[in-house]
Symmetry: C2
Subunit: 234 residues, 2 copies
């Protein structure tokens, strides 16, 4: 039986994961706060996403459910919400439905209240991933993929040549399962950099300020960080 995955968040990042995971044979449920409220929307949103109803019509194996229902039946959850909503969404899903499960946190605590480029609502001595881990101690939080655009997260082959994906979290088993999923997406084992425990999310979330500026400069989100470690003469 296909592994059951819950996607928290109905925006472009959540949809990108839902579609890719479905095409790879996973059983995907997208979670939302209120299914009826979500399905009744008929307008393209401010980010250019078509109404979810329309999107789901063309992808009839992807289910829509409440955060609670999506979390209940899944073994792995993806946090594809906006950073300032993440803890609220997980609270709505219910701590009892998160116990022992893996949360792959790809969100960032971006603060657009002063326009572009955004600042971070939490950073330096704290991070979104740590806030989530503290709020849900028995959830196995793995921070990864948050340092690139969604299309690259699920399909690294969109870039020629090597580029890096960072992973951190307190649970070794959860990181290993996450790494397997990353390899299913197409990530090379050598490109997966395990930084250690969840406090290292500070470092990866703090890559966002330069990411948004490079996006502004390049006018395309199809780029990623690579770490050159190829010392001359070795």
């Amino acid at each position: 039986m296909a592994q059951k995955i819950a996607i928290l968040g109905t925006g472009s990042v959540g949809r990108t994961f839902a579609e890719r995971l479905t095409s790879l044979g996973y059983d995907v449920t997208i979670g939302t706060r209120n299914v009826d409220d979500t399905l009744v929307k008929t307008k393209t949103d401010s980010s250019g996403n078509v109404p979810l109803t329309t999107w789901l019509e063309e992808r009839n194996t992807i289910r829509l459910a409440t955060f609670t229902e999506a979390a209940q039946q899944a073994s792995i959850l993806f946090n594809c919400t906006k950073g300032d909503a993440s803890v609220d969404v997980l609270t709505a899903a219910g701590a009892e439905n998160l116990d022992g499960k893996i949360l792959i946190d790809v969100a960032n605590p971006l603060d657009f209240s002063n326009g572009f480029p955004p600042s971070l609502s939490v950073c330096n001595t704290n991070s979104l991933a740590e806030e989530i881990q503290r709020a849900f101690p028995s959830l196995r939080v793995v921070k990864t993929l948050n340092t690139m655009t969604a299309a690259l997260m699920v399909n690294p082959a969109l870039l020629v040549g090597d580029h890096a994906v960072f992973v951190c979290g307190n649970d070794e088993g959860a990181k290993q399962e996450t790494a397997k999923l990353l390899e299913v997406f197409g990530w090379k084992s050598a490109s997966i950099i395990d930084l250690g425990d969840i406090t290292n999310a500070r470092a990866t979330e703090m890559l966002l300020p330069i990411w948004v500026r490079l996006y502004g400069k390049f006018k395309t989100p199809i780029f990623n960080f690579q770490i050159n470690t190829d010392a001359a003469g070795q």
Copy 2:
């Protein structure tokens, strides 16, 4: 006549620039707070640097002077001080000796008060480079090279393959002169990424948290960030 450059800071970063710039034909003066106090030291410091007296004996074209004297005679200054000392050092150099000059700021506001890894003493909506620029409005501050170890700053060929150096600042002419110096060090023009005005220093200084963690992981500082922009099928 050789261009006169002042190096502010007598630690390993300052020495790396002084030695490299001298070997490239520049006229280099290292600035320090009190020349006699610096020269009287006879012990290797906590970072493993030999006493400056010993170091200078083997490099007799490099002068040592006060911050004031070093700044007075130079057209370009390198800020190689610790971030928490930078504004104090420039104040000691004297605003009247900085007017219209280029400061290449390679420092970072690292806070080691809670051990390793350090946090940043300023970030997110502010940066060290902006603090320097605000304190000395007629100084032409260019932030660059702060995202890698000193040996790579002055000799990018220590890594095989491409890697990036970010530049930002409010003065276009100062950035152009800085880019020329970077190319003298061996940086390829295509590797120099101009992010825009000095507020972009927030983004490059915020790379330090992941840099220090990667250093901890790799056990060598000889690595650098590269931005992969090579989209497939283009």
